[in-house]
């Protein structure tokens, strides 16, 4: 279990309204775990005692100077180090009052960061990738610095990792959309570059933790996925100049409400826990201002805390405390992660300890395999590049399309969408379609004049959509009275909530037939309903001509309204309750109602919503169900072929539910009386038929059972053959 405790505010942030930056450049430990150095991008550096939430000292650079790197504390020499204006390194002590009077040195190349670890010499990382120890640099500030990275390659993130006596500088660069991880060991100054796998999008945050001989790199992507990559501490040799592929494994999939993450950050707390800020709490709506601790072993949320105000996607973790800038404050939140013994009890956890040196990088991935192959054959490489390019193209297309949807006209969107759908058959289609649909629906809701019916139908037809991906789509269709789209959605979506199903039903029932007849519906279902009606006519004719002397006169003579004999039932019913019923609703309405009947539901959820129907609606629907029921009974041997047609059970279930939900209404309503009586007599007749069938089944079963008992004899002589 993990827990977040009551936090405290370390300092206030001076943030302008609507600013996406917190104004904090960085937070570094100062020697022990109770002092931190907070570097403010507005020119000041402050040292706080965390337990007292009290500033101990503050230094400011002159107007016109910029701090370009968070200040670090060198615990060996008890000095602070900061870089201003990219090239000027300033070093001062606690008793120095002004930064101007402190030691400064100008170096020949731009500095990206200065990193420091307790009791270790600070390390300087230059923008072009060179790494130098601070004291050796300061000994000769104007020395030439090697350029490792090309001009265009930009460092996005860097850190210093210490494990035992070893230290590594890790930094991630971006170059033409490709992200590379560079690992530089400070011991022997060897450097290895890895290409990060599948980086179509830029990661929001990176963090590293050394664990059992490996460096675990955690990255959070805007789609809510947290990936882990593992790099061995003992860097592979003889790979100078090569770029190795770095596979990643999905560690955690964070639930996102809508849209992508913009500013979020993830930090590993221990081998099983990750702290995430800026991601919605799964049970608290769409707000993204939460700090959560997730267990990566079990994919469970362990603790969550709402952070007031804006989240800047920054998160630091030092000595059991999380530092989160949010709103107008920097909060310090202590946490605790306990290792559950559940895994140990279940034998899923190997004995802790004693596993200091694991074999490095056990993970392989398909991506890695193909990458290796690329280096093997040149032809492969080209092909690979091509596919990658095409994938990249389509990924861009989705973004472009979403942009287009936000502004473009219906026609433009329609064209773009057609071309997009015709091209893409990639596995990510599902995701893309979901995003596109959400974007379309959002625009349509905001802009009443915009309603791209065709595009939506197109999207639904991909069968990649479901209700939960885009919950507003069906609501929108209902609002716009787009019955055709409703029909497609009802057909395709497997997960429509019962409330929406009921809303659709209500809408269909209340829409006048004349309005519906103009709508173009899916032809197969229409044809089916037409077929069903045609059967009626045909049946009627048959009824008159058939029965070669079989029981019709006898049945007609009986004056009871109930069928006496199951076999005589059909003609009997014809006399008792007008079997040549006309369809109580229009053709198209019937088709739509059929779709409702076929949607999956759970009756306990459906019942409360069914109660919303008004009495005339209930009676109309019940009439229609009765019509279907009787029709089905009649055409039991002349089945109309159709891809989708409600089954007998579905019809009967709906009748039951409807009667259940509106029992009192139906009892009270005079116009329902005849309907119910008819239904009752029909059901009663059916019951008799089925009791008869039940008896036959019983005796047939007994016959079947009687046979194999012979096989179970106490003794037999058999011939077998072995080969």
């Amino acid at each position: 279990m993990a827990a977040l405790f009551e936090g405290s505010t370390l300092c206030a942030l001076s943030v302008a309204q609507n600013c996406t930056e917190s104004g904090i450049e960085g937070i570094e430990l100062k020697g022990d775990d109770d002092h931190v150095v907070v570097t403010d991008s507005t020119r000041s550096i402050t040292v706080y005692k965390v337990s007292d939430q009290k500033p101990l000292g503050s230094w400011t650079v002159k107007q016109g100077q910029r701090i370009t790197c968070p200040a670090v504390y060198n615990s060996k020499t008890r000095e602070y180090v900061v870089v201003t204006d990219d090239k000027v390194i300033r070093v001062w002590k606690d008793d120095d009052i002004s930064l101007d009077k402190a030691f400064k040195a100008t170096v020949s190349s731009d500095v990206w960061r200065v990193h420091s670890a307790p009791d270790q010499e600070p390390v300087v990382l230059f923008r072009r990738g060179a790494v130098q120890l601070l004291d050796s640099l300061l000994a000769e500030p104007q020395q030439d610095v090697e350029n490792i990275l090309s001009e265009e390659e930009v460092i996005r993130w860097s850190t210093l990792v210490t494990s035992g006596k070893q230290q590594w500088i890790l930094y991630i660069t971006e170059h033409k959309g490709e992200h590379c991880l560079h690992v530089q060991s400070l011991g022997n100054m060897s450097r290895v570059a890895y290409r990060l796998e599948g980086t179509g999008s830029t990661s929001l945050s990176y963090s590293v933790s050394p664990r059992s001989g490996n460096l675990h790199i955690l990255s959070l992507y805007p789609d809510g996925c947290v990936y882990e990559s593992i790099v061995p501490m003992r860097l592979p040799e003889g790979v100078e100049g090569k770029v190795l592929p770095l596979p990643r494994t999905l560690l955690l999939m964070l639930p996102l409400g809508e849209g992508e993450l913009a500013s979020a950050s993830a930090v590993p707390l221990d081998s099983a826990h990750v702290a995430v800020v800026g991601v919605p709490h799964p049970s608290a709506g769409a707000g993204k201002d939460y700090l959560c601790i997730w267990n990566t072993n079990f994919q469970t949320l362990q603790a969550g805390k709402e952070m007031a105000g804006r989240i800047y996607g920054q998160l630091w973790c030092y000595c059991g405390k999380l530092y989160v800038p949010h709103g107008k404050a920097l909060s310090v939140i202590p946490f605790e992660c306990q290792k559950s013994s559940l895994a140990a009890a279940m034998g899923k956890l190997k004995q802790p300890g004693g596993c200091e040196l694991n074999p490095p990088v056990p993970v392989a991935s398909w991506g890695a395999v193909t990458q290796e192959q690329t280096s093997a054959s040149a032809v492969e490489t080209r092909k690979n590049r091509l596919t990658r390019k095409s994938q990249g193209a389509s990924a861009i297309a989705v973004d472009q399309l979403i942009e287009l949807i936000k502004t473009g006209s219906e026609d433009q969107v329609h064209k773009a969408m057609t071309s997009f759908l015709s091209k893409s058959d990639l596995p990510g289609l599902q995701l893309a379609v979901g995003n596109l649909a959400s974007a379309l629906v959002t625009r349509s809701l905001e802009e009443p004049s915009f309603y791209p019916h065709k595009v939506l139908v197109q999207l639904v037809h991909t069968k990649c959509l479901c209700h939960s991906v885009c919950p507003d789509l069906l609501k929108l269709a209902l609002e716009k009275k787009d019955s055709a789209l409703c029909q497609f959605c009802l057909q395709v979506f497997p997960d429509i909530p019962e409330a929406i199903t009921c809303a659709c039903l209500k809408a269909f029932l209340s829409t006048p037939d004349s309005e519906l007849e103009t709508v173009t519906l899916e032809t197969d279902s229409v044809a089916y309903m037409e077929g069903l009606s045609a059967v009626t006519v045909q049946e009627k004719e048959e009824n008159e001509t058939q029965q070669n002397g079989f029981s019709t006169p006898a049945a007609a003579e009986e004056n009871s309204s109930e069928a006496q004999h199951p076999l005589h039932q059909k003609p009997k019913l014809a006399s008792s309750m007008s079997l040549d019923m006309t369809r109580p609703v229009g053709l198209h309405k019937a088709v739509l109602l059929n779709e409702i009947l076929q949607t999956p539901y759970s009756d306990s959820f459906l019942l409360p919503h069914l109660k919303d129907l008004s009495a005339p609606q209930v009676i109309l629907f019940l009439q229609y169900l009765q019509f279907l029921y009787v029709k089905y009974y009649q055409e039991i041997n002349t089945q109309v072929p159709a891809l989708r047609s409600p089954t007998m059970t579905q019809i009967i279930d709906w009748v039951c539910m409807l009667v259940d939900a509106h029992f009192t209404v139906l009892v009270m309503a005079p116009e329902a009386k005849e309907l119910l009586a008819g239904l009752h007599s029909f059901v009663k007749a059916q019951m008799r038929l089925f009791t008869g069938l039940g008896k036959i089944e019983g005796s047939l079963h007994a016959l079947k059972k009687a046979k194999p008992s012979k096989d179970n004899s106490q003794y037999s002589i058999e011939v077998i053959e072995l080969f």
């Binding site: 013994s341 106490q714 003794y715 058999e718 080969f723």
Partner: protein, 700 residues
């Protein structure tokens, strides 16, 4: 070839591997429920006591194998078992303490405790004293001496029966489970230190008592109890307070067993479940541990009456008669034979003997024997179909055993004229005579004095001699004559082994006798010189079945770990085929089988064919065919059937396995070359068991 007696004139159909099979299902074997289990950690043996008073010794080394059986006795009901070193003690409702002689498979001595029925027995961890709990409420201490036990004293007598006992590991305190309470006694003074009251199940009638079926006393002064209200309770025995109450079942918790390191406890319930508790801290690496319920195993349909926890598995047994060894998978890193669930449902020795010439079957029940004559059918039949039966099988004889003791072993001679059985104290030989349809039976009155009892019995192929395995691995040879029987010789192993013989086999030509004993030793004696011939090199695992080839005089041995060996008696060495098997290794599917080979016979028509069977299959082992390699399909009969004749040859391998008949008690070959298989349906056994406790199932 067709294995039918006479072939029709001129029509000699030569089809390889066609068998006429007498499928027999009228052996109503009924195993008895398991009442107590004791696990001996040093020797890795499990002692199992059944409701009928019999005791079985299983070994868990190299598969679960039943090594020894001590037959039961009317009126003997065993309530508890206890190992002290290699000595095994039992108590029962007769009020007596019995020590078993595991070499001669009989009670060594019996002592009355004079306290009424005894419910429980435990030895202190030091192995010096036994404590027994009696119906009259006394806990009696017995001192364990070299060859007996001696009553020492009673602890303070309290009202109410003592149902369960557990020693504190220091041996200074005893916890006793009673009616409605647990008492903790100080052994030195004999006084009760604590009285822990156990409350009844909620809603139980006031007069219904809560029975503490089982207690365990831990070294950290925790007492854990299982009771009839379905609860496992954890008590602090220093303060006498209840620490934790686990509601396990609506029915009874009948048995508890603690692992040796005291971190795991299993509880057996009336529902047939075994619930595991573990001593864990909720946070990894912290000290504050508590007993947490972790897993539930359901391998039984009826009461789990007895349990034992080994280091890597849980052994459980109950009224559904099967012994289950459930491995704890977290203790096994690789899938192996040790990590498989094992069940012992049938005894691993033969209860059926077959008179090959006379076509008779002798069924051995605990207290009676049945002799059946097999039926006859038409000569010809097509494979896969039944042959019309011309004469139905007939029960010739039902012979009730004299006295209270259950039958140990029995045999019928190949000619069907002699019948012999032995209990632990008497051996009876009968002469049978058939006249038309009448059968007359006469007891042979004057038996040689050495034939007082036998562990195993066997007739020579010509029915002229009877071999009886007796104590100290010796075998008596007795010649049979209608006039009288004469003791000819007693064979004794050279190494003076004291273990009992469980398998005897005589060669068809009457020249060789082979014996196998519980020490895994196989001795071969020459019947012509009446001397010990040689000893087969001892293999680690017990012999489950063996037989001497009628023409080649090779001894074929099947072991409990599924290895097979062929030993040439004349050359006194393993045959080339056997070496080949060891070199190439057996197929994994063969080694993974669950039950040991129970019988070995030979196909008289083809000297290369050896017929083996276990509970789930029988197999014709063709020594002329290549052994299956690791990749080939082992159970290939269906595949071969579908292939054309020419292709079959390339796909054939030595093991022709037939699983048509299950579960098997016996497979044997008759003189007319037809097979007889005796099946006993497990469903029939379950149907005869008492109804299990009622459980609410979903939607009922």
């Amino acid at each position: 070839m067709i294995f039918s007696g006479k072939l029709k004139k001129g029509t000699i159909r030569r089809i390889m591997g066609e068998f006429k099979v007498h499928r027999v299902r009228f052996f109503d074997y009924m195993p008895s429920g398991i009442r107590a289990i004791a696990f001996n950690r040093q020797t890795e043996r499990i002692a199992v006591a059944r409701v009928d008073g019999s005791v079985e010794i299983f070994t868990i080394l190299y598969n679960l194998f039943q090594e020894k059986v001590i037959p039961g006795k009317e009126q003997r009901s065993i309530e508890a078992l206890c190992w002290v070193g290699e000595r095994l003690f039992s108590v029962g409702l007769s009020g007596e303490i019995i020590e078993f002689d595991l070499h001669n498979l009989r009670p060594r001595f019996t002592i009355d405790a004079y306290g009424g029925p005894i419910w429980t027995i435990t030895a202190n961890p030091q192995g010096t004293h036994l404590a027994v709990g009696c119906e009259d409420g006394t806990v009696k201490l017995f001192e364990i001496l070299e060859d007996k036990i001696q009553f020492e004293r009673n602890l303070d007598r309290k009202k109410g029966r003592i149902l369960s006992l557990s020693w504190h590991p220091s041996g200074t305190k005893i916890a006793a489970g009673m009616m409605d309470m647990i008492r903790v006694f100080d052994v030195k003074t004999g006084h009760a230190i604590h009285r822990l009251l156990v409350d009844k199940a909620a809603g139980a009638p006031r007069d219904q008592e809560c029975v503490v079926w089982s207690v365990v006393y831990l070294s950290n002064d925790t007492v854990i109890s299982g009771d009839s209200s379905g609860k496992v309770k954890v008590w602090d025995a220093l303060t006498g307070t209840l620490i934790k109450n686990h509601d396990v079942t609506k029915w009874d918790v009948l048995a508890l067993s603690l692992s040796q390191d005291e971190t795991s406890l299993v509880a057996g319930t009336s529902e047939g479940t075994v619930v595991q508790f573990q001593f864990l801290s909720s946070v990894l690496g912290k000290e504050d541990k508590e007993w947490v319920r972790t897993r539930t195993f359901k391998n039984h349909t009826h009461d789990v009456r007895a349990l034992a926890e080994m280091d890597t598995a849980i052994i459980s047994g109950g009224l559904d008669t099967q012994l289950v060894v459930r491995p704890l998978l977290e203790k096994h890193d690789v899938k192996s034979q040790a990590s498989a669930l094992r069940k012992a449902q049938f005894p691993h020795r033969r209860l059926v003997s077959c008179a090959k010439k006379a076509q008779l079957l002798l069924f051995q029940y605990p207290s009676h024997l049945e002799l059946w004559r097999l039926g006859e059918g038409e000569e010809e039949g097509t494979p896969g179909e039944k042959v019309p039966v011309r004469r139905i099988p007939e029960k010739l004889l039902q012979l009730k055993a004299k006295g209270e003791e259950h039958i140990f072993c029995s045999a019928v001679s190949p000619c069907g004229e002699w019948l012999v059985y032995s209990t632990t104290s008497s051996l009876r030989l009968y002469k049978l005579q058939y006249e038309n349809n009448n059968i007359s039976i006469t007891k042979v009155s004057k038996l040689p004095k050495v034939l007082r009892w036998a562990h195993q019995l066997c007739f020579s192929a010509d029915s002229s001699q009877l071999f009886a395995a007796s104590g100290r691995s010796s075998v008596h040879m007795v010649s049979l004559n209608p006039e009288g029987c004469k003791h000819k010789h007693t064979f004794k192993p050279k190494n003076g082994s004291t273990q009992p013989i469980h398998l005897l086999t005589v060669s068809e030509n009457g020249l060789w006798l082979a014996t196998a004993n519980s020490d895994c030793e196989v001795h071969i004696y020459s019947l012509s010189t009446l001397k010990s011939h040689c000893t087969v090199p001892v293999y680690r695992s017990g012999v489950s079945a063996m037989a001497i080839h009628p023409t080649k005089n090779n001894l074929f041995i099947a072991h409990a770990d599924q290895q097979v060996f062929e030993f040439s008696i004349e050359l006194e060495q393993y045959t080339d085929w056997s070496r080949k098997v060891q070199r190439e290794g057996l197929h994994l599917k063969w080694l993974e089988r669950d039950t040991p080979i129970m019988n070995v016979t030979f196909n008289p028509r083809n000297p290369d064919h050896i017929i083996l069977h276990d509970m789930y299959m029988f197999c014709v082992l063709d020594q002329s065919l290549p052994l299956p390699d690791k990749k080939s399909q082992f159970f290939n009969q269906l595949t071969l059937k579908s292939l054309p004749e020419q292709e079959r040859k390339t796909r054939c391998h030595a093991f022709k396995v037939c699983k048509l008949f299950q579960p098997l008690m016996c497979v044997d070959v008759l003189e007319d070359h037809s097979l007889v298989v005796v099946e006993r349906s497990l469903l029939d056994i379950v149907a005869k068991l008492p109804a299990p406790v009622k459980q609410k199932k979903f939607a009922t």
